[in-house]
């Protein structure tokens, strides 16, 4: 085995183990005993909070100060939200939203608008 291969395999092992540690940690810490009361109250609010935070996270690479100023993302999220509140059809909201977004970014629709 060459040094390069060994280095790559070691890196993959280290990253895989570190990732697993972050996922297994709460199960190791709280599996045998009940989490404290305040924690279990917070734990109930975590899922909705994290879901909405993930929406913000998806916007991490948006350049807000450059054209098109994040407008494809903002517009598409607004359309998905309105559509979903009106129809409550998960797949419909997701597909129309994604199709719209691909159309907007592949044809630089908003960029034309700002230039």
């Amino acid at each position: 085995m060459t040094n390069e291969v060994l280095y790559l395999l070691t890196v993959i092992t280290v990253v895989a183990i570190a990732t697993f540690i972050t996922r297994v940690l709460p199960f190791v810490l709280f599996n045998s005993k009940e989490p404290p009361v305040s924690m279990s109250k917070i734990e109930k609010d975590l899922p909705p909070m994290i879901l909405l935070i993930l929406v913000f996270y998806c916007l991490k690479d948006v350049q807000w100060s450059q054209p098109p100023y994040g407008s494809p993302e903002v517009v598409t999220i607004a359309v998905v939200t309105i559509l979903h509140v009106l129809k409550r059809n998960t797949l419909l909201s997701i597909f129309i939203g994604t199709g719209l977004y691909m159309l907007l970014v592949q044809h630089d629709v908003f960029l034309l608008f700002f230039s």
Binding site: L8, V11, V15, F27, I42, P47, M49, F56, D61, S93
Partner: protein, 243 residues
């Protein structure tokens, strides 16, 4: 095939379909990046099977190219994936009776699998752990398939998948709205908007997720503490609620 298994697989496929559409182009992007950096496709396969964490895999390519040391890989992975520890907190009860599926379910707890598992209603007469396992395996499979596709074919054929990964953003938006309707408190949503907004404005892209979850959780903890002390001082006669 046993009709119960068939039912489980069909409903899991339906639920994971948006993730399929998101993981395939993201996986392709990862495969392309790794093969573009000059690595054999088998490394994309190994990484997507055994690491199975999108953002860390992308950053790993950058670190590999830079020739980073093992300590850097270790610290960066722990910091970026620390958020998964928060996901596990919501899963302790859900996975408690998962038996032989439990180690894999913990291993495969990505952002998207977490989002699906906490929001999905269990179909009738279906064993929970088997259903969870099907969802987790399917998502993992999409990710691996996308990675290989990107590493092997991506450079040959010209795919315009630009913007398709937005399917995951749309999925998170829809799941948030569903949580909003099923929730009787607005506090987590306010916490998320505050924490997400602050983090987007202040932190670099690779730190946003961890910091927003930390800030949001801190907000929830402080709110909980204030609400509790108010409640105790207001209702000293009613001790049943606070044993």
């Amino acid at each position: 095939m046993d009709p119960e298994n068939k039912m489980i697989i069909l409903s899991a496929f339906k639920i994971t379909f948006p993730v399929l559409l998101g993981y395939i182009p993201l996986g392709i992007a990862f495969g392309l990046l790794l093969s573009g950096a000059g690595y054999h496709w088998s490394y994309a396969l190994l990484m997507s099977i055994f690491i199975y964490a999108g953002s860390v895999q992308f950053i790993s390519v950058a670190l590999l190219v830079a020739g980073a040391g093992l300590t850097e890989f270790l610290i960066i992975t722990l910091l970026i994936n620390l958020r998964h520890s928060f996901y596990g907190l919501s899963m302790i009860a859900r996975f408690s009776d998962a038996g032989k599926f439990k180690p894999y379910l913990i291993f495969a707890l990505t952002d998207e699998t977490y989002a699906l598992l906490i929001t999905t209603e269990l179909p009738e007469n279906v064993p929970k752990s088997k259903f969870y396992f099907s969802i987790a395996v399917m998502n993992h499979f999409y990710w691996v398939a996308g990675s290989i596709l990107g590493a092997v074919l991506g450079s040959v054929i010209d795919l315009d998948l630009k913007g398709m990964a937005f399917v995951l953003t749309a999925l998170f938006v829809v799941l948030t709205i569903e949580q909003y309707y099923h929730s009787n408190t607005r506090v987590p949503f306010i916490a998320a908007i505050g924490a997400g907004g602050i983090s987007l404005a202040l932190f670099s892209p690779e730190n946003i997720l961890l910091f927003s979850i930390l800030i949001g959780t801190l907000f929830l903890a402080v709110y909980e503490k204030i609400a509790r002390s108010k409640n105790i001082s207001m209702s000293t006669t009613d001790q049943k609620e606070w044993p």
